[in-house]
């Protein structure tokens, strides 16, 4: 049974699903979307995924979307190797981590990325009118408002400060948890580790690795995560070099700016 995957190379939610597929040894038919060109807002895709976001998988004729839901589905369908802790309490810990992404952490990461780096991609070569048209394409009104301000205002956006503070809290929580167990939901690697790998990687891509200095458990976890074959296959092989160089350049320029925002409390 083939798995079709609608995704994007640098999308954190697509990364989660590709890592899971790699851990499970599953190949997929790739439908790679250019999100800056708005592929995800086309009517034929909205018919599959009404939220107009990636990823979506089609497996055995069934459509499954929302990365947290897709990852649990893949673990249910392909139980070997298991990516959920065997005990109910471990599963609760795993789900508590994953849920935080849906409740604001994912949005915070998108805001940080946009304000520091991706805003330049949105603006490049576009007239004001074209830019407005792209931003107006977001289906969700809350996301539309946020992205519009983030693209136009950068780190001055009123959404940036709470977003970067939320990301720092994520690293603090990870540091505390990884001081007790080797992986996030216990002593085995799980969907929680998969779900957070893209976000911690993003912090590194945006040149904010100074945040790891006081959080050595997080740095060590990222190192161990990167050593897994699934990281190579699900993340690295899909990295877009243009994105990496932009994040490196703009992230480097903004290190002091980010430190200043955090120091201001």
């Amino acid at each position: 049974m083939t798995i079709e995957l609608y995704h994007n190379g640098m999308s954190t939610c697509s990364q989660k699903v590709r890592i899971t597929l790699a851990e499970k040894g599953q190949d997929f038919v790739s439908h790679h979307f250019n999100l800056r060109a708005g592929d995800q807002h086309r009517p034929e895709y909205i018919a599959i995924n009404p939220n107009g976001v990636v990823p979506t998988i089609i497996h055995d004729g069934r459509i499954v979307y929302e990365s947290a839901v897709v990852d649990e589905y893949l673990d249910d369908i392909f139980p070997d190797p298991p990516l959920k802790p065997a005990d109910p309490y471990g599963r609760a810990k795993m789900r508590l981590w994953v849920k935080q992404l849906d409740e604001g952490l994912h949005a915070a990461s998108a805001t940080i990325s946009a304000c520091i780096a991706f805003r330049y991609q949105f603006m490049e070569g576009k007239t004001d009118e074209e830019l407005k048209k792209t931003l107006d394409g977001y289906v969700d009104p809350v996301k539309r408002e946020r992205m519009t301000e983030n693209v136009l205002e950068g780190v001055e956006s009123r959404f940036f400060r709470p977003a970067i503070r939320r990301a720092v809290k994520m690293l603090d929580d990870m540091q505390a948890s990884l001081s007790e167990t080797s992986w996030m939901a216990g002593d085995s690697y799980s969907l929680a580790d998969i779900a957070f790998a893209p976000y911690v990687t993003r912090v590194a891509h945006l040149q904010q690795t100074w945040l790891f200095d006081q959080r050595p458990r997080v740095a060590d976890w990222l190192e161990r995560t990167r050593e897994r074959a699934s990281y190579q296959k699900g993340m690295v092989e899909w990295f877009n070099p243009d994105f990496l160089s932009l994040m490196e350049e703009k992230g480097g320029e903004n290190v002091d700016g980010v430190k200043a925002v955090l120091a201001a409390g």
Binding site: R62, Y65, V69, V70, Y73, D76, Y89, A92, K99, D102
Partner: protein, 263 residues
């Protein structure tokens, strides 16, 4: 032994009590009066850093967040199962539950506060005291929502969006019930449990007009209310101090809310 920190009218506590009742589990309750703020005390924050109910304690293990607690209970006490047996059914169940965490739950707070609960604050505090309490809320998003909802009531800028979101939700529920008897398929599941408290709240706020033209929704809600779990998980805990206020203020607001839904 299971212990549950909860509150009678809290929607998230209702979900967990319904699940416990469906499983036929006994539990010991620690009931919080949320208006007095015991959920913000340091000893409780150690269990539940967000300072919200419910929190489940199972043999010394602390489990928080209602959707996580519900799946935990189904993992820990698998009989009777409250998740679809097939993986695809589970995805449908989880898509429903996730929507609550992504905004619907917060919007229920908008409806309840701006239509009715704001009057509870005005009954015991001056406007100056209320303003001061609001400015002390640490989370800026929640602070802004409460400022609008409590001080402005039906003029809260968050209310029209919340009303429209619930109108869409009821439409989505109606569409799902066209395909199957329950939200995630042909079996009653955690998804049905998760939405029951919100149906109850909309009913208390006199917003049953949302399903006037969607007959599958009240039929489904009727079937839920006939389950014994509804009585022990929700019915037995209804707070008589809240119901007349919601009925009175909900009725007064109905016409304006309908206009918002149509906008």
């Amino acid at each position: 032994m299971l212990a549950l920190y909860h509150n009678d009218m809290s929607t998230c506590a209702q979900k967990v009590r319904l699940t416990l009742a469906e499983k036929g589990l006994d539990w010991e309750g620690i009931h919080f009066n949320l208006r007095e703020g015991p959920q913000h005390r340091p000893d409780y924050l150690k269990l539940n850093p967000a300072g919200v109910v419910p929190t489940l304690i199972d043999d010394g293990r602390v489990v928080i967040e209602s959707t996580v607690i519900m799946e935990y209970l189904d993992d820990r006490f698998p009989d009777p199962p409250l998740r679809p047996a097939d993986p695809y059914g589970k995805t449908r169940m989880r898509l429903w539950m996730k929507q609550l965490d992504e905004g619907l739950h917060a919007m229920t707070g908008v409806l309840s506060s701006s239509i009715a609960f704001r009057y509870q604050h005005f009954a015991i505090k001056t406007e100056e005291e209320i303003r001061r309490t609001i400015e002390n809320i640490p989370d800026p998003g929640k602070r802004e929502r409460q400022r609008e909802n409590i001080l402005k009531g039906l003029d809260s800028k968050f209310l029209p969006g919340a009303v429209r979101r619930f109108d869409r939700l009821i439409g989505d529920i109606d569409a799902a019930l066209q395909e199957a008897d329950w939200l995630a398929g042909d079996g009653f599941s955690l998804a049905d449990i998760a939405y029951t408290p919100y149906m109850v709240r909309l009913t208390h706020l006199q917003m049953t007009w949302l399903w006037d033209s969607r007959p599958r929704v009240p039929a489904w809600f009727e079937r839920i209310q006939m389950r014994p779990s509804f009585q022990t998980g929700i019915g037995d805990w209804l707070n008589e101090k809240y119901l007349p206020l919601m009925a009175e203020k909900g009725a007064e607001a109905a016409d304006r809310l309908k206009t918002m839904a149509a906008g």
